[in-house]
């Protein structure tokens, strides 16, 4: 659960980004933060990631009081979050596989865990055939799916997506939203920042509207019951929420077969290489 109690944040410059925010997001909810530029949406996200500390009030996430959390516990806390950015923030010198594995490596996951989890995330996001590609060889939508796979690989209980469709065309935006909805249906809390009214209205979920640092509207809509991808039948966030019914496939299915013999190659790929590895047999992304 995420809870804001009388939260205000004033920056050192004197700019009061958010004022007296009271908000409660239950486990497994899907929430949009929307509003004009400078309305305080990103500040709320940064308060959740504990990049910022509230000037006043309390922010509590999954039982952590973020105003009082010890410095050394912040990394442990952040492992329960997954963050997706508008500009993807992929590492351009590493393959798709290594971008996803990166999230596991930095928390000290073993090779065995990486070998198991990364292919699973690749399947889940429909990127199995492109695991060797470099980010610049992918379309915007594919890059965002890599970013989502990276955010998911440590099985966070909360996904924070800051304008995840901001750089994408309509088709890709819809795919990314479907992906986030699938993730949400498997029990992960998802918070999406967006400017797009169309997106908000088409998805039909809870919307928190901000204006000049305050919540001006908090409306709950009835969710459209869209079928879930088969790949999500296996996926669960780490702190297991109530299970969701298993539904037939609807989003674009990733049918590319994994070459199991290739697994070691993935891990042995020199992810430090400045030069992109050979991708002759891979098809470059063309705007998926």
């Amino acid at each position: 659960m995420i809870e804001f109690r009388n939260v205000s944040k004033t920056y050192d410059t004197g700019n009061r980004a958010v004022r007296n925010i009271n908000l409660r997001i239950e486990d497994g909810e899907f929430v949009f933060f929307t509003g004009r530029s400078g309305s305080g949406k990103s500040t709320l996200i940064r308060l959740i990631t504990r990049e910022l500390k509230p000037t006043e009030g309390e922010v509590k996430v999954n039982g952590w009081d973020l105003g009082r959390i010890r410095q050394r516990d912040i990394p442990k806390y952040r492992r329960s979050l997954g963050v997706v950015f508008q500009d993807f923030r992929l590492l351009n010198d590493r393959s798709v596989f290594e971008n996803i594995a990166f999230a596991q490596r930095v928390i000290g996951a073993s090779r065995r865990e990486i070998r198991e989890n990364v292919p699973e995330m690749l399947k889940l996001t429909g990127l199995s055939a492109k695991y060797k590609n470099m980010p610049f060889q992918l379309s915007g939508g594919e890059q965002q799916r890599v970013a989502i796979a990276r955010a998911l690989v440590n099985r966070p209980s909360v996904i924070l997506a800051d304008e995840p469709t901001g750089n994408l065309d309509e088709k890709n935006s819809r795919e990314i939203m479907n992906l986030l909805l699938d993730i949400n249906r498997m029990g992960t809390t998802v918070i999406v920042i967006t400017h797009s009214r169309e997106l908000v209205s088409s998805v039909g979920r809870r919307v928190v509207v901000l204006d000049r640092g305050t919540i001006v509207e908090d409306r709950t809509a009835v969710a459209e019951q869209r079928p879930i991808s088969t790949f999500f039948s296996e996926y669960r966030p780490k702190p297991k929420p109530a299970g969701q019914p298993h539904r037939p496939v609807s989003v674009e299915e990733d049918t590319a077969p994994f070459d199991e013999d290739d697994e070691d190659d993935w891990l042995d790929d020199d992810y430090d290489d400045d030069e992109p590895e050979a991708v002759e047999e891979q098809k470059g992304g063309t705007g998926g």
């Binding site: 952040r78 923030r89 490596r105 090779r111 430090d272 400045d274």
Partner: protein, 307 residues
């Protein structure tokens, strides 16, 4: 274990990415440690020569012409009873002349000395060669010996030793100043290299922070990078010094042998054996290089990465 391996690989990868800065930093540390080793060798050897001079040259006591053998024997006994003396060797005038001929006339000693066949030029130069147990007592001992009426002149290594000691002080001061300057440049360059690496990896570090990487995971690759730069910077001069010292040792021995210098100088002017200088110097060089790399990168990255 995989985390440590990851940090190590990332550190090495940073070295490769910032190759020019890495090379510049390692070269400056190498210069700094090379000079340190060079001056360390010089200071140690000058100290060694000074000590050898003090212990092997000893105090030479010459007597008045009128002094009899009995009187000289009395002086000898009294000096021995005074204490602190390891050995007293009597050198007759003939022995003094023989020694002089060997030292100064070399191979042609007999021909050149023929002119003095029946006339020892050092007739009045019989002497006592006194070796002390503790060289620190030399000045006191010399004062005591001079108090005897029959003593004409006392020669000892004071002037040579004090000259060597002054020389050592100058070398020490100059080397310290140069090393401090190079040290400061090394610190600056390592710090710059690490800052640059942190800049290149800013995006990566931001992502790492948000994913939940610990401070250790974010900082360790940079500290590995700094430490490896320090290690390379230390190994290069230590290998060079190893090669140079052996050659210098042989060169000095050869020069002294070939110039037919004084027999006393042959005993004194020898370089310390490599095995006695190198282990301590290598250890100090490694600690200096690796320590500098580690400490500078640690503090630089601490400043850059607030988690």
């Amino acid at each position: 274990m995989s985390a440590i391996l990851y940090c190590f690989r990332q550190g090495l990868s940073n070295l490769r990415r910032n190759f020019l800065f890495t090379a510049a930093s390692a070269a400056t540390i190498a210069a700094c440690i090379f000079l340190f080793c060079l001056f360390y060798s010089i200071v140690m050897n000058v100290q060694h020569i000074a000590y050898q001079a003090e212990t092997t040259i000893g105090i030479t006591v010459f007597f008045n012409e009128s002094a009899t053998m009995e009187e000289k024997e009395t002086v000898r006994r009294e000096i021995e009873e005074h204490g602190g003396v390891r050995e007293i060797v009597y050198k007759s005038a003939d022995e003094a002349w023989e020694s002089f001929k060997n030292d100064y006339f070399g191979e042609h000693a007999e021909e050149l000395a023929a002119a003095f066949a029946d006339d020892n030029p050092l007739a009045q130069s019989d002497s006592f060669e006194i070796f002390l147990e503790n060289i620190e007592d030399q000045e006191d001992e010399v004062r005591y010996i001079r108090s005897f009426d029959i003593v004409r002149e006392v020669n000892y290594a004071n002037s040579v030793v004090s000259a060597l000691r002054s020389l050592n002080r100058v070398i020490y001061a100059v080397s310290l100043a140069i090393i401090v300057i190079l040290f400061a440049i090394s610190v600056f360059l390592i710090s710059n290299t690490i800052s640059l690496a942190a800049h290149f990896r800013k995006r990566e570090n931001e992502i790492m922070k948000l994913i939940g990487a610990t401070n250790f995971m974010i900082r360790a690759p940079f500290v590995v990078e700094g430490t490896v730069i320090g290690l390379i910077g230390a190994l290069i001069p230590l290998i060079l010094i190893r090669l140079i010292y052996g050659k210098a040792e042989m060169y000095v021995a050869d020069r002294i042998q070939n110039t037919g210098s004084l027999s006393a100088l042959r005993d004194v002017a020898q370089l310390l054996p490599f095995g006695r200088v190198y282990p301590m110097m290598a250890l100090a060089g490694l600690v200096l290089g690796v320590g500098m790399g580690f400490v500078v990168s640690f503090f630089t990255i601490r400043k850059h990465l607030k988690v």
